[in-house]
Symmetry: C2
Subunit: 256 residues, 2 copies
């Protein structure tokens, strides 16, 4: 019963096998634009994603998600990390497995089962990248613009699924941190959430998130070496308290 001694006559090639198992990566970022150079004000933020223009058949010339075929020596997750680095020049980012796409006929090259991953990247990570690539072939698009393009394969569906997913996770986990720097102000956090989840509105946001009782501290104030509270006046005349995420996780339940 040792599985390694293949004394059986099993031969994978007697069956029809898939023609490939690629990964496709939806890379989201939030791009900030200062409103007016001279004034201190909260920036406009926009959710964008990265697409590349295909150079080969099929869908030659169309915009598509970065991705590529998995090798026998790697897992799908490793494949996605490799493609993310190779095609988008992005490393060390939060990445989640999203879904499998296997509808027959989804790829004209044959029987190809694709695995979508969803990466959340801080804007600064993509700025390093820009220099490497020909801007006409690798570009960031606002999410709504991307969904209006003629995309390759079933990539529009993948993007829609990814959007649903990050909207849910934005509210139920602390992935907002992937879009923020280590230390942030409450209004930055609020803006990030609103950028991803358009309907989000909490009038008393600052009080709810900083009331430590029931919330059990998913964020905490940043203090300097002397133990004083660390402030920032990046966006305002009046300095704002800086916060960071703790490692606490809130257990959510519909039953309490």
């Amino acid at each position: 019963m040792n599985p390694l001694e293949n004394e059986s006559n099993y031969d994978a090639k007697q069956y029809r096998t898939p023609d490939g198992a690629p990964s496709d990566i939806i890379i989201f970022t939030i791009v900030s634009r200062e409103k007016v150079a001279a004034k201190k004000a909260l920036p406009d933020r926009e959710l964008q994603l990265l697409l590349i223009r295909r150079k080969v058949w099929p869908y030659e010339g169309a915009w598509a998600l970065p991705g590529g075929f998995c090798k026998e020596s790697e897992s799908m997750y490793e494949c996605a990390r490799r493609e993310l680095a190779e095609e988008a020049g992005v490393q060390d980012v939060h990445m989640d497995y999203l879904n499998v796409y296997s509808t027959p006929g989804r790829d004209p090259r044959g029987w190809i089962i694709s695995h979508a991953f969803c990466a959340l990247v801080n804007e600064s990570k993509l700025l390093e990248r820009r220099a490497d690539d020909d801007a006409s072939d690798v570009r960031l698009f606002a999410v709504e613009d991307a969904l209006r393009l003629e995309l390759a394969f079933d990539h529009r569906q993948m993007i829609r699924d990814a959007l649903d997913r990050i909207r849910e996770k934005m509210l139920t986990t602390t992935i907002a941190k992937e879009f923020l720097s280590e230390e942030f102000t409450i209004s930055e956090l609020y803006q990030v959430i609103q950028t991803v989840v358009p309907g989000f509105e909490e009038r008393n946001f600052i009080r709810k998130i900083t009331s430590t009782q029931s919330r059990k501290g998913i964020i905490e104030e940043v203090r300097d070496a002397q133990g004083g509270l660390k402030l920032s006046n990046r966006y305002s005349q009046r300095a704002a308290q800086l916060y960071r995420f703790t490692n606490e996780r809130r257990e959510l339940s519909i039953y309490n």
Copy 2:
């Protein structure tokens, strides 16, 4: 740019391609046992899952999850449904995609990328099945017992992942309904949740779940044709109100 006119010289077979893309299905059910035949009392409930004994190499004789190879003409989801019907005799059940398992070397037959699905089945669905199968080759195991077995492939990991998933979903969605009949009492619901999530405890469960204000009615009382409240005395002398799930979905958030 029509993707269907393959004027390119693309040939999938010039690359190493996977040797198969199977699905594996973790089928959970909750089995009730009456305590004492004579008395009315809440049953003991236990979370169980279905395993089959492998008849062929590799892992011949070992217990494994039901599942099998995907065909070119079907999606992974369709494959899982087909295998669920063929191997476990179970149809029309709630099934979720769980994860992809692609670690190199996970299957001695070759490069095989497996897709795990998680099915929640009412006990009654499996009773129909039992007659069809040889009980020694298809069996329900208590989850803890299953995890102690020497399982084929990486099926132990799949089961652990599935457990984590249904524990989370039990608390954040209304999947409890998959284990209950259409109409149920509050204590049945409470028992089901506790069976899946051992640490779950809410002293005032009945009040919280029936207070419609903040909860926005995920369940509602069942009424008979005359509009009277429908009761059940299956488990108790004092009849208990019957409830059913509505189609409401609670939006959960860590931010409010």
